[in-house]
Every structure is written in structure tokens, then in C-alpha cells.
């Protein structure tokens, strides 16, 4: 990707991420502080390093992007962080949730739905493209196994990918997590050509 194209992609992802954090904030009734936002070109094989290593037990909320082009959105948390989100979503006292029940998974899935939809809403409205999230899938596994779902698709056409990694936290609870945006080549091309065309 050229530097101007990378900058446009970064601007769009930043816009989408800000909107996604607004959605999360509204959903959990807490202010969200974005502590870190990085957009990098990384080898697909090394993605798991960004979530504490391939063998780290994690909870993943995964959505695909459909519509004008496809891509992947994934939220990954350490289990105790995911459970803290469940407590917030279900208006429970901290440390109430200690295991992944079907209702806990459903609450996390809905959180992923709101974050993913708000992210895509911002990008769709900025570019005029129709971009829709799939229903979310909530999985508990080693981070490497969770990310295999995404990397298998990307490796079909590239050894590298553009990883947007956002770390965020709430003000009064020790909660933070990563939000990965991993575009397919088609999604990048569609978004950049449309965004560039609309800006021209």
C-alpha cells in the first residue's frame, strides 16, 4: 500500500474505531478511554503476538464483513476481562461471572455486534459503500486457534496484512481489550478507491 493510501485507510479505521467505542460506551454505560491505536503492516503469521502469544487462553468475538467487500473484525480478551464485560452488560457486581455460560456468550456477542456495526456504520457513511457485519461468533480457545479463522483466509492471497489494534479501558473498572480490524485485499481496494473517488 502506498503512503497516501495507508494514511486514508488509517483515517477511516480511526473514524470507525472512534464510533465503535461510542457504541461500546453507550452499551455498558461507561466512558471508554482509547489508550492505544496502532495501524501496522504485519506478517500474518505473527498476529498472535499481539494478543499475548498463540497459546494464551482467550475469548474471541468474531464477525465477518459482507456487502461491497469482505473482511474480518475480531475482539480478543483474556477470559477474566471478557467476564468483567459480561458483568457490566448484565448490570452485575464485579466478579459475578466466572465461566462462559450461554447467556454470557450471548451478551458478549451482542457487544461485538454493536462494536462491529458502529465501526462499519462510520466507514459506510464516509465512503457510500454498503458494509454489513455478520452475526457474531463467540469462541473460547487459545489465541492462535482463534486467529486461525482469520489468517487462513488472508494467507490465500498475502503473507502480510494491515492490522488495526486498539487498546481501550473504562474509567472505573480495570477493563481493557484489543479490537482488530483485518481487511481483505478486496475490502481495502473497495474502500480506498471509493474514499479517494468521493474525496476527488
Amino acid at each position: 500500500m502506498t503512503d497516501p493510501a495507508m494514511q486514508k485507510w488509517a483515517d477511516l479505521v480511526s473514524l470507525g474505531t472512534a464510533n465503535a467505542m461510542t457504541g461500546l460506551s453507550q452499551m455498558i454505560g461507561q466512558a471508554i478511554e482509547v489508550r492505544e491505536f496502532e495501524l501496522e503492516q504485519v506478517p500474518v503469521a505473527s498476529i498472535s503476538q499481539y494478543v499475548g502469544g498463540a497459546e494464551a487462553q482467550s475469548v474471541g468475538i468474531y464477525l465477518t464483513v459482507t456487502g461491497a467487500a469482505d473482511g474480518h473484525l475480531m475482539l480478543i480478551y483474556e477470559p477474566h476481562i471478557a467476564f468483567a464485560f459480561v458483568d457490566l452488560l448484565m448490570m452485575q457486581a464485579p466478579d459475578t461471572t466466572t465461566e462462559m455460560t450461554p447467556m454470557a456468550a450471548s451478551a458478549l456477542g451482542e457487544m461485538g455486534n454493536v462494536i462491529g456495526a458502529f465501526f462499519l456504520n462510520a466507514i459506510a457513511d464516509a465512503t457510500g459503500l454498503s458494509l454489513r457485519p455478520s452475526p457474531p461468533t463467540v469462541m473460547t480457545d487459545m489465541a492462535g486457534a482463534l486467529l486461525d479463522v482469520v489468517t487462513a483466509d488472508i494467507l490465500l492471497y498475502s503473507d502480510d496484512t494491515y492490522l488495526a489494534d486498539t487498546t481501550f479501558a473504562t474509567a472505573d473498572r480495570d477493563i481493557s481489550g484489543a479490537f482488530f480490524v483485518i481487511p481483505s485485499q478486496g475490502l481495502l481496494e473497495a474502500i480506498l478507491s471509493n474514499e479517494i473517488a468521493s474525496a476527488a
Binding site: 453507550q26 452499551m27 454493536v114 462491529g116 456495526a117 458502529f118 456504520n121 459506510a124 454489513r132
Partner: protein
Amino acid sequence: MAKVLIADDAAFMRMKSAQLLKELGHEVIEAENGEEAVSLFSEHSPDAVLLDITMPVMDGLDALKAIMAKDPKAKVAMVTAMGQQQVIMEAIKAGAKDFVVKPFDASRIEEALWKLVK
């Protein structure tokens, strides 16, 4: 009191919405996807329908079109995080009477329901 059909693939959201509607004195019917919503609409003839959009099997926009084909006077509101302008326009054109963006306040659902069944 109204008979309200809610369709959402997330059990968590169905639980929250059903709890709110029952507290308001309404009867609630729950569907897990668009196809089930269309079937339950035919079976129960609800006074109002609250439809999510992103659902498996059949999404909410297709369910909306199927419900409106069965009953052009059906009272349907979309309740979804998909707040894109194109999606809102498609839903309104297909016959949705209101569009509630998740996450919602209880008062916003009350307002939507009041508009549907007044």
C-alpha cells in the same frame, strides 16, 4: 396491552427487551431469526413487531419484506445497531414505521411501541 413480536438472534437482547415489555404490561412473543419471525407473525398476528437486522437464517430486512407481503398494514420497527443511511432508507422503503438504533434506552423502545400501536 399489546401483543409484541420481538426478533433478535441474541438471547441476551431478547431477555432485556422481553423484560422491559412485560414490565410495561405487554404480551411478548420471541423469535431467534427472521424466518422464525415471519412464521410467528403468521401464527400470532401481533399488534407490533420489533425486528433486529443482523440475524442468521434470514436477516431482518428480508423478514420485514416477507411480513409486509403477508400484511401490508403490519406495524414493524427495526431495532438494530446497523444505523447506516442506506440500511435505514431500505427499511423505511420496505415499510418499517420506525428505526431504533442499538444500544437503546428503555424510553426509546416505549416511544417506538407507542407509535406502532397508537
